[in-house]
Symmetry: D2
Subunit: 348 residues, 4 copies
């Protein structure tokens, strides 16, 4: 089969690889129908994640059809349509029993990281019963690809951890795909004011069409001053960090009001300065989280109900064998006005 | 009357001051029976809190008897015995309605800070109905003085915010009075393992008699290594910071396990380094809080039931007019083996 | 002034009464701008509430303008526009400190019940600081009248107690004004499926325009069978009882799925049969509540944001001096297709 | 092997049965070390549970040693000591993912009910990875048998569902083994007052040694009046029903104060009268639950820490082949002063 393979820092290739095989009774083999590229994949391509070995097939998102299941798989059979979760869960360890699948002792984020991933014609998914979700044959597969990672990440790390409530005032720092996912899913809890902060006017304008009530271009305006003006100097109930650099985290520290929440989604490579000399007395809660995808069934139900259209996040579509071109487009998101790209496996 | 007055950095005096008067219909005047000295009072004496003006009477803890109440006070009358809360609450603002009294728009921590406090024969307590608690005439007043500040602080900022649960493994960094209050009140939730960390052997030995299951002298042992050994390298469910300096906060960052809580109690004067490069994916919750004293009624009930004896925290007793000596003893806590000191007003 | 006065079972009159006066320093006098009639007022007229004495002015909802405040009122002054809460809260008792204002030791539901109410040109509101909410002068007063009782009742007793979550399937039994308030406010939490059950086709059709995804006329269809068909025989996550008779409560017992919630809003006059022989093992939570109006500030923010239009609930408008006619219309709701009626005080 | 077999209403026998075999890759075979008899087993013997077929081996509690595991079991191997949960969990269905194992689509309470149980020399435990818990070889096995059912039942259905908090006043109706388990585990949350109500003086006296602060013999005293006297007419924060008949449930309805919780543990065979005419406005929460055993790991940790000694519940010990005698003793609990009986498998 063909697959997108990491070839060391800066290098990826679309090449022939052996079709994966069942190794454990809990495994499944999936034929990919649609997949996508995550911001993390760009970091891997750059060489930022040394755990990813040369030769690894990348990708941790997608929908597909079951080709084969191991002997102890009971929830799925050949031919079933499935949604692949970016997080693999054994369902049997201490963390899985707490629904903290991100820290599964035999799983967690391993797809396209420690084992071969989804940017291929076929993928082996371990612990199929706990790591795949059934979808109807005629479902809107593009929308559901957004449920593999981006929607649960924005929702769990940003919205749930940020404890967004009806009537709240929230700020989301970062209008990339993950910030947009937080923007869309925050509306499940009906905040009254949603302030989107970024440095890209195009993304901010898109955010407005997605439900942001205020937008701030922090390269042109003083974000702190503007937020304080909107909030009568109280600060926001919840500040969601969706970038992953010290400057945006520290901006969030200043935006959050007394009793408020700072929910981190961003993947950070460096430490940040935490201003405890002011925060110690402000009754603040700061949270971090690697997505658990424990809310995937909830998100699936709400997507099916039509209350949210995750396809809004899709800006580009490619055939799977155009994936190198897709990486270039997605890697140049500002210029290309890209949010999420869809890759269709049309190879039969 | 006599009172302990802040005279500028480094200077306090025991001197004659006018007896306080009712100013507002919600006020009360209390004759102090017992009061104590807080670590914060030592900081004020040093000059660390520039908001405290020269001439201010210090102190924010105590029990007493109502001398007089304003015209709209309905919960209390002359002669009632009362517990004074360190936090003043108007009961009418947005924050008070959320029980976040620490941020009361007309109150919060003002006693012995922005207005005259309790280290005196008499004190004016504003918003009496919401800032005082009734106690029976024959109650154990020494025990109840611990309810003015130290027990709710350890409980709310450390134990409640740290979400201590039955069976948990917790670490408390700092075995001073506040850390000890967290140690005592954490046991309301029956954690299985309580690790106390300090650099003073005497305090650690006292902690053991208060219920710590493990003690670590971090000046002699590697606290991180020892905690990891106790927890099978998982880290603790809750790390409680009860010192207020960068080193102890950053130690807590390393002690807390995936999915765990870091509950700050310490008053910090400097920023700390937050290692988001490791914490971003560890599902951690960090909390800060100025005590609200919203749990005072709960704590009162549990103290009355005999499940906890807060008098254990009291190491020294003085007459109120020996308060300068008491400051010296408390200010030299290590050498004097002091935790809390009680000052008795025997002046009639 | 003129007022609507209860004259004993079956009798009400619109008559001259003395204008109310300040009695306590915490009181306020309000000139009513708009008020409405509650289902409970119809019960009072019938004589169902023996606590209501002859001569009492009815009504517990409305917006108005402050005429005068007592000496200890600090949040309001003459001329302020205010929203009146149906629940009076002293802000100083054990229950008020828990935000359980319904059980306030000096308040609770007393307006138009134990003391004179809002269906008058003027009303005395005790404990003004805690029982009134400020509104801007130019606000949409008709919408805000819905915040006095009906929206917090539907929201607190039905939606919050029912723990409605994104993606949930819920059933609301009773499409009267309270059921409709639950329907509108449940959508703050984005349930996927909302099933409205009633016996009045007009109300069910209105419910559909308010966001119900399914409607069932239980006089024509088997509600239990239809709900089981919609839910794949699992039952609903939350069943909200908004009628107050045994048959509807017992219907809810059968609709709720394992692990689900039965949230009662209805005012019951009789006991019901609780089928513990089946429910004991089904992990069900049943809740009752008299509205606390603790969420009024939250609801106000969300109404101001435009996410909900409570004016949808208003079907009829009258001048205040037409209130007898308004009672007749509202008391004949089925035929008149009435939900809420607005009474405008045009008397200057 | 030998086993205790249900032979139809009123009849049980100790007889030879085939040793169980692995049927599914997720199965395990356990050699029983210790088991016990549950009140439910007495109901089965009587014929009250028609789902139990003649020929079924009874029992759903015990500790043992793994004899053999199926091919996909990863948490256990031959020779491991294990605690058997009364609830079987597949770990893969919708309910298991919510930790509501009681409603597992392939498990739940099946042991000694729908499949052969633990009152035998050997037992087959399906879904071993999710239904067994590892214990060290030298553990106190008698204490751990109490973790199979009785402690999690009292804790989850009574204490957790009843939301017992520090300082609370609680009442437990029924001082049988389950009520005693609620009594012991309620103390994990440090309630200030624990009132035990029963009609057996011996059990009440035992309850006092287990931590009850008040005892009421409801056959001699008016339980409602006495509880109201203890609680200043407020009623209790939590009433725990641990009997399972209408009279005790309805007593709990009257005991619970405004804002309180009524947590049902009892297995009910009849409907009860729910006095909604008084309860509708009292902000009450009523819960039902079949134990999920989701707290078994938490309870194991707290038992290991020595904070609770579940062996206190054991009043009688027998050899496994004396089980018929043990049933008679346990079935005559009042006269025999029996709480829990332990059966030791000494057959090698």
């Amino acid at each position: 089969m063909k697959a997108l393979v990491y070839q060391g820092p800066g290098a990826i290739s679309w090449e022939e690889k052996p079709k994966p095989l069942i190794k454990e009774p809990t495994d499944s083999i999936i034929r990919i129908l649609k997949t996508t590229i995550c911001g993390t994949d760009l970091h891997i391509r750059k060489g930022d994640l040394p755990d990813v070995k040369e030769g690894t097939i990348l990708g941790h998102e997608g929908v597909g059809i079951i080709e084969e299941v191991g002997s102890s798989v009971i929830n799925f059979k050949k031919g079933d349509h499935v949604l692949i979760s970016c997080i693999t869960s054994c369902g049997k360890c201490e963390y899985c029993k707490m629904a903290m699948y991100s820290h599964c002792e035999k799983g967690g984020w391993i797809l396209g990281n420690l084992i071969d991933g989804c940017q291929a014609e076929y993928v082996r998914i371990p612990f199929a019963d706990n790591s795949l979700y059934p979808i109807p044959a005629g479902a809107d597969e593009e929308a559901l690809v957004m449920l593999s990672d981006i929607l649960p990440t924005g929702f769990e790390c940003g919205v749930l951890n940020g404890q967004v409530k009806p009537g709240d005032t929230i700020a989301i720092v970062g209008a990339g795909p993950i910030g947009m996912a937080a923007l869309l899913t925050s509306q499940f809890y009906s905040p009254a004011v949603i302030i989107m902060i970024d440095m890209d006017d195009n993304r901010l304008n898109v955010a407005k069409t997605f439900g942001a009530t205020h937008i701030i271009n922090s390269s042109k305006e003083n974000a702190l001053e503007k937020v304080m003006s909107i909030t009568n100097n109280k600060g926001v109930d919840t500040a969601i960090e969706a970038v992953g650099v010290p400057a945006t985290f520290e901006l969030c520290e200043t935006l959050v009001g007394a009793g408020g929440h700072l929910a981190n989604i961003g993947v950070h490579g460096k430490s940040v300065v935490l201003h405890m000399e002011t925060l110690w007395s402000r009754n603040i809660t700061i949270t971090t989280r690697l997505v658990d995808t424990s809310t995937t069934p909830m998100l699936y139900k709400i997507v099916q109900s039509g209350k949210i259209d995750p396809k809004k996040l899709i800006t580009h579509r490619f055939k799977l064998d155009q994936i190198i071109e897709a990486y270039d487009t997605f890697g140049n998101a500002g210029k290309e006005k890209a949010l999420k790209v869809i890759l269709n496996n049309e190879i039969k």
